[in-house]
Assembly symmetry: C2
């Protein structure tokens, strides 16, 4: 059931009929342009309303070229959200080190990504798609698990590391949603450092099994 | 900015032109039928795509009658989600009592609502609307704050009770989303009692400031 979200291989591109003049296939620049268009389309229209055709149109290329570089719509979504979650992928590396203070470091790093509009909005767009479409949820789940949760869990010396990492992730996600999506007061306007300080002990507890 | 989500008053209804024959206005039954149609429309189509006209059509009444009973689209949404969140409104009453074990009682009650499809799906539908439309988010925020969060906060003898209740709510919401929306494993398939037991100390800490 889990779709392969790895972007499709890109062998030497074959000339696709109907490609608009002036668009050169097979260059990294073309691939990047399609990817940027895909990211914008999925973010603006949501997963359901985005099609390979609409991505191609936005990028000024033939739809066959989108398929050529990225495969299915699910795979294209996977490639687009890789870019969106790039800041979060640095999380596991950035927060490790001594168990002391890991809760505070994780809270600061992960909530920090939500504090700035340019990094928050694309993540929110992906969450919206995952809330409304099961294929999008599947792609997001696979990436979240593989690239963030499993990597953090692999570093922990606690019982049930996957479950504990997910409880910590749940606390972070819930805070982000109440603060930035539902904008419930007082948490929406609370000082960032205060919020970090208040949830740090919770994360510390999950990630160290109460130790450190 | 906060819309009044209280359903509009229902004085003696005036006869509305164009109302289909056989539909009697002014009865509690008609009001209930419109409300049920509104709930279904908002749940199935989302806030953006639902109109007073589509609700009226689903209920088999004139659109003027929907306005008459419920006011604006925002107010109609408010009335519809009152019904959706009725199970959760019982939460504050159900979970109070001795501070000992409050974390476990809150976790069991609130996560329990998400465990059964008939209570989970309408809540999910409201969350989807709140994620995609600011008016829907505003109505939901107002109701969540007034009917659940503020009532719990009012019972607590801790510093910053509102913020603490929201951190607890964030933990619960995050767990519900990872378990039931994103369906990340292992938390999606974990035993309900195990999940309750693992987050109970977190909620206990927030709601009692580490005491009890």
């Amino acid at each position: 059931m889990t779709p392969d979200v790895t972007p499709g291989p890109a062998p030497a591109p074959k000339r696709s009929r109907g490609r608009p003049a002036g668009v050169r296939a097979g260059t990294a620049e073309t691939r990047e342009r399609i990817l940027a268009a895909a990211r914008t389309e999925f973010a603006d229209r949501g997963y359901d309303k985005t099609s390979m055709r609409s991505i191609a149109k936005a990028a000024g290329v033939d739809p066959a070229l989108v398929h050529h570089y990225f495969g299915t719509k699910e795979q294209t979504f996977g490639a687009a959200i890789e870019l969106t979650f790039a800041p979060a992928f640095a999380g596991p590396d950035a927060v490790f080190g001594a168990p002391e203070g890991i809760g505070e470091r994780v809270a600061r790093f992960m909530l920090g990504i939500w504090e700035s509009t340019p990094t928050r909005e694309p993540i929110l767009a992906v969450l919206r798609s995952a809330f409304t479409n099961e294929s999008a949820a599947e792609v997001f789940r696979s990436m979240l698990t593989r690239r963030i949760l499993a990597r953090v869990a692999g570093e922990l010396d606690v019982p049930e590391p996957e479950l504990r990492v997910q409880l910590a992730a749940a606390q972070l996600l819930g805070v982000a949603v109440l603060r930035h999506v539902l904008k419930v007061e007082p948490i929406a306007s609370a000082d960032f450092d205060d919020v970090v300080a208040m949830i740090a002990p919770t994360l510390q507890g999950y990630l160290t099994a109460g130790g450190a």
